[in-house]
């Protein structure tokens, strides 16, 4: 996808509880078999795009990077990730194309929210001499918010 906008999420801390000391957005099963890109993350900015300034005023919360493989350069099957990658007796490194987990610390941006409900927008951007360009680059399975007391 060329932009992801989450459903509304709710801050887990309720009234009377101490504020969280740290908050992470964790992106699970992020594909990195394609092109490289920068994923810019915004809170409560569903219209954010590649031209939106990455400042706290726009809801910018952080970023992660995907150093992509740029497609498969080998023969058929060369880049197929084998099944059952969680074999605990296999001490070899995981297949290089196994999807990645990308945690992003968003503590300050989350603290700056004035409402308990918010959305997460992720804009995948490729930098270039002509300026940033948004692309159909972002594929992941799950987004998780983790806060720490």
């Amino acid at each position: 996808m060329d932009r992801y906008v989450s459903e509304e999420l709710e801050l887990p801390a309720s009234e009377g509880q101490p504020p969280f000391t740290r908050a992470d957005l964790i992106f699970h099963e992020v594909d990195h078999s394609g092109e490289s890109f920068e994923a810019r993350i915004f809170l409560n900015a569903p219209d954010a795009d590649e031209h939106t300034p990455t400042t706290s005023e726009t809801g910018f919360a952080g970023y992660f990077y995907i150093f992509g493989h740029g497609g498969c350069a080998g023969e058929e099957g060369h880049c197929e990730v084998p099944e059952n990658p969680d074999d605990t007796d296999d001490l070899r490194l995981a297949h290089p194309l196994r999807p990645a987990t990308k945690p992003v610390v968003v503590t300050e941006a989350l603290r700056a929210l004035t409402e308990a409900r918010f959305t997460v927008t992720v804009v995948p951007v490729m930098p270039g001499a002509e300026g940033p360009r948004r692309g159909d680059l972002l594929f992941f399975e799950e987004l998780e918010l983790v806060t720490y007391d």
Binding site: E35, E38, F64, Y65, F67, G70, L93, P127, G128
Partner: protein
């Protein structure tokens, strides 16, 4: 600034994920949309790749010096690093691997 924050991280696995991301940022911004540096199979053909990875390795060494007793899991230490005949545990000391980085340097001009 980001490097200082990186080196201050006390937990190895947090440090590991963060340095991986900083590493990726350099690949993305140097390679751009079509350059070798932004494509995994081609990146090492760009000479800057080697300077970049030497810097990443140096940052790892600097982190080790700041955090001399990090906590690792046994599974992590025993992970085999094929195709090399080494495990993670056998790569933790760069001196055992036969090299090291200067932690600081200073130079002065010699009058002629």
């Amino acid at each position: 600034m980001e490097v200082e924050q990186l080196l201050a991280l006390p937990d190895f696995f947090t440090f590991s994920r963060r340095i991986e991301d900083l590493h990726g940022a350099v690949h993305v911004y140097v390679g751009g949309r079509a350059g070798h540096m932004s494509q995994v199979p081609l990146a090492a053909y760009d000479p800057i790749f080697w300077a970049h990875h030497a810097m990443i390795d140096r940052l790892w060494r600097m982190w080790e010096l700041r955090h001399p007793a990090p906590s690792f899991t046994t599974d992590f230490l025993n992970t085999a690093l094929r195709p090399f005949p080494l495990t993670v545990a056998q790569t933790l000391s760069v001196r055992a691997l036969g090299y090291d980085y200067a932690s600081a340097s200073i130079s002065v001009r010699v009058p002629v």
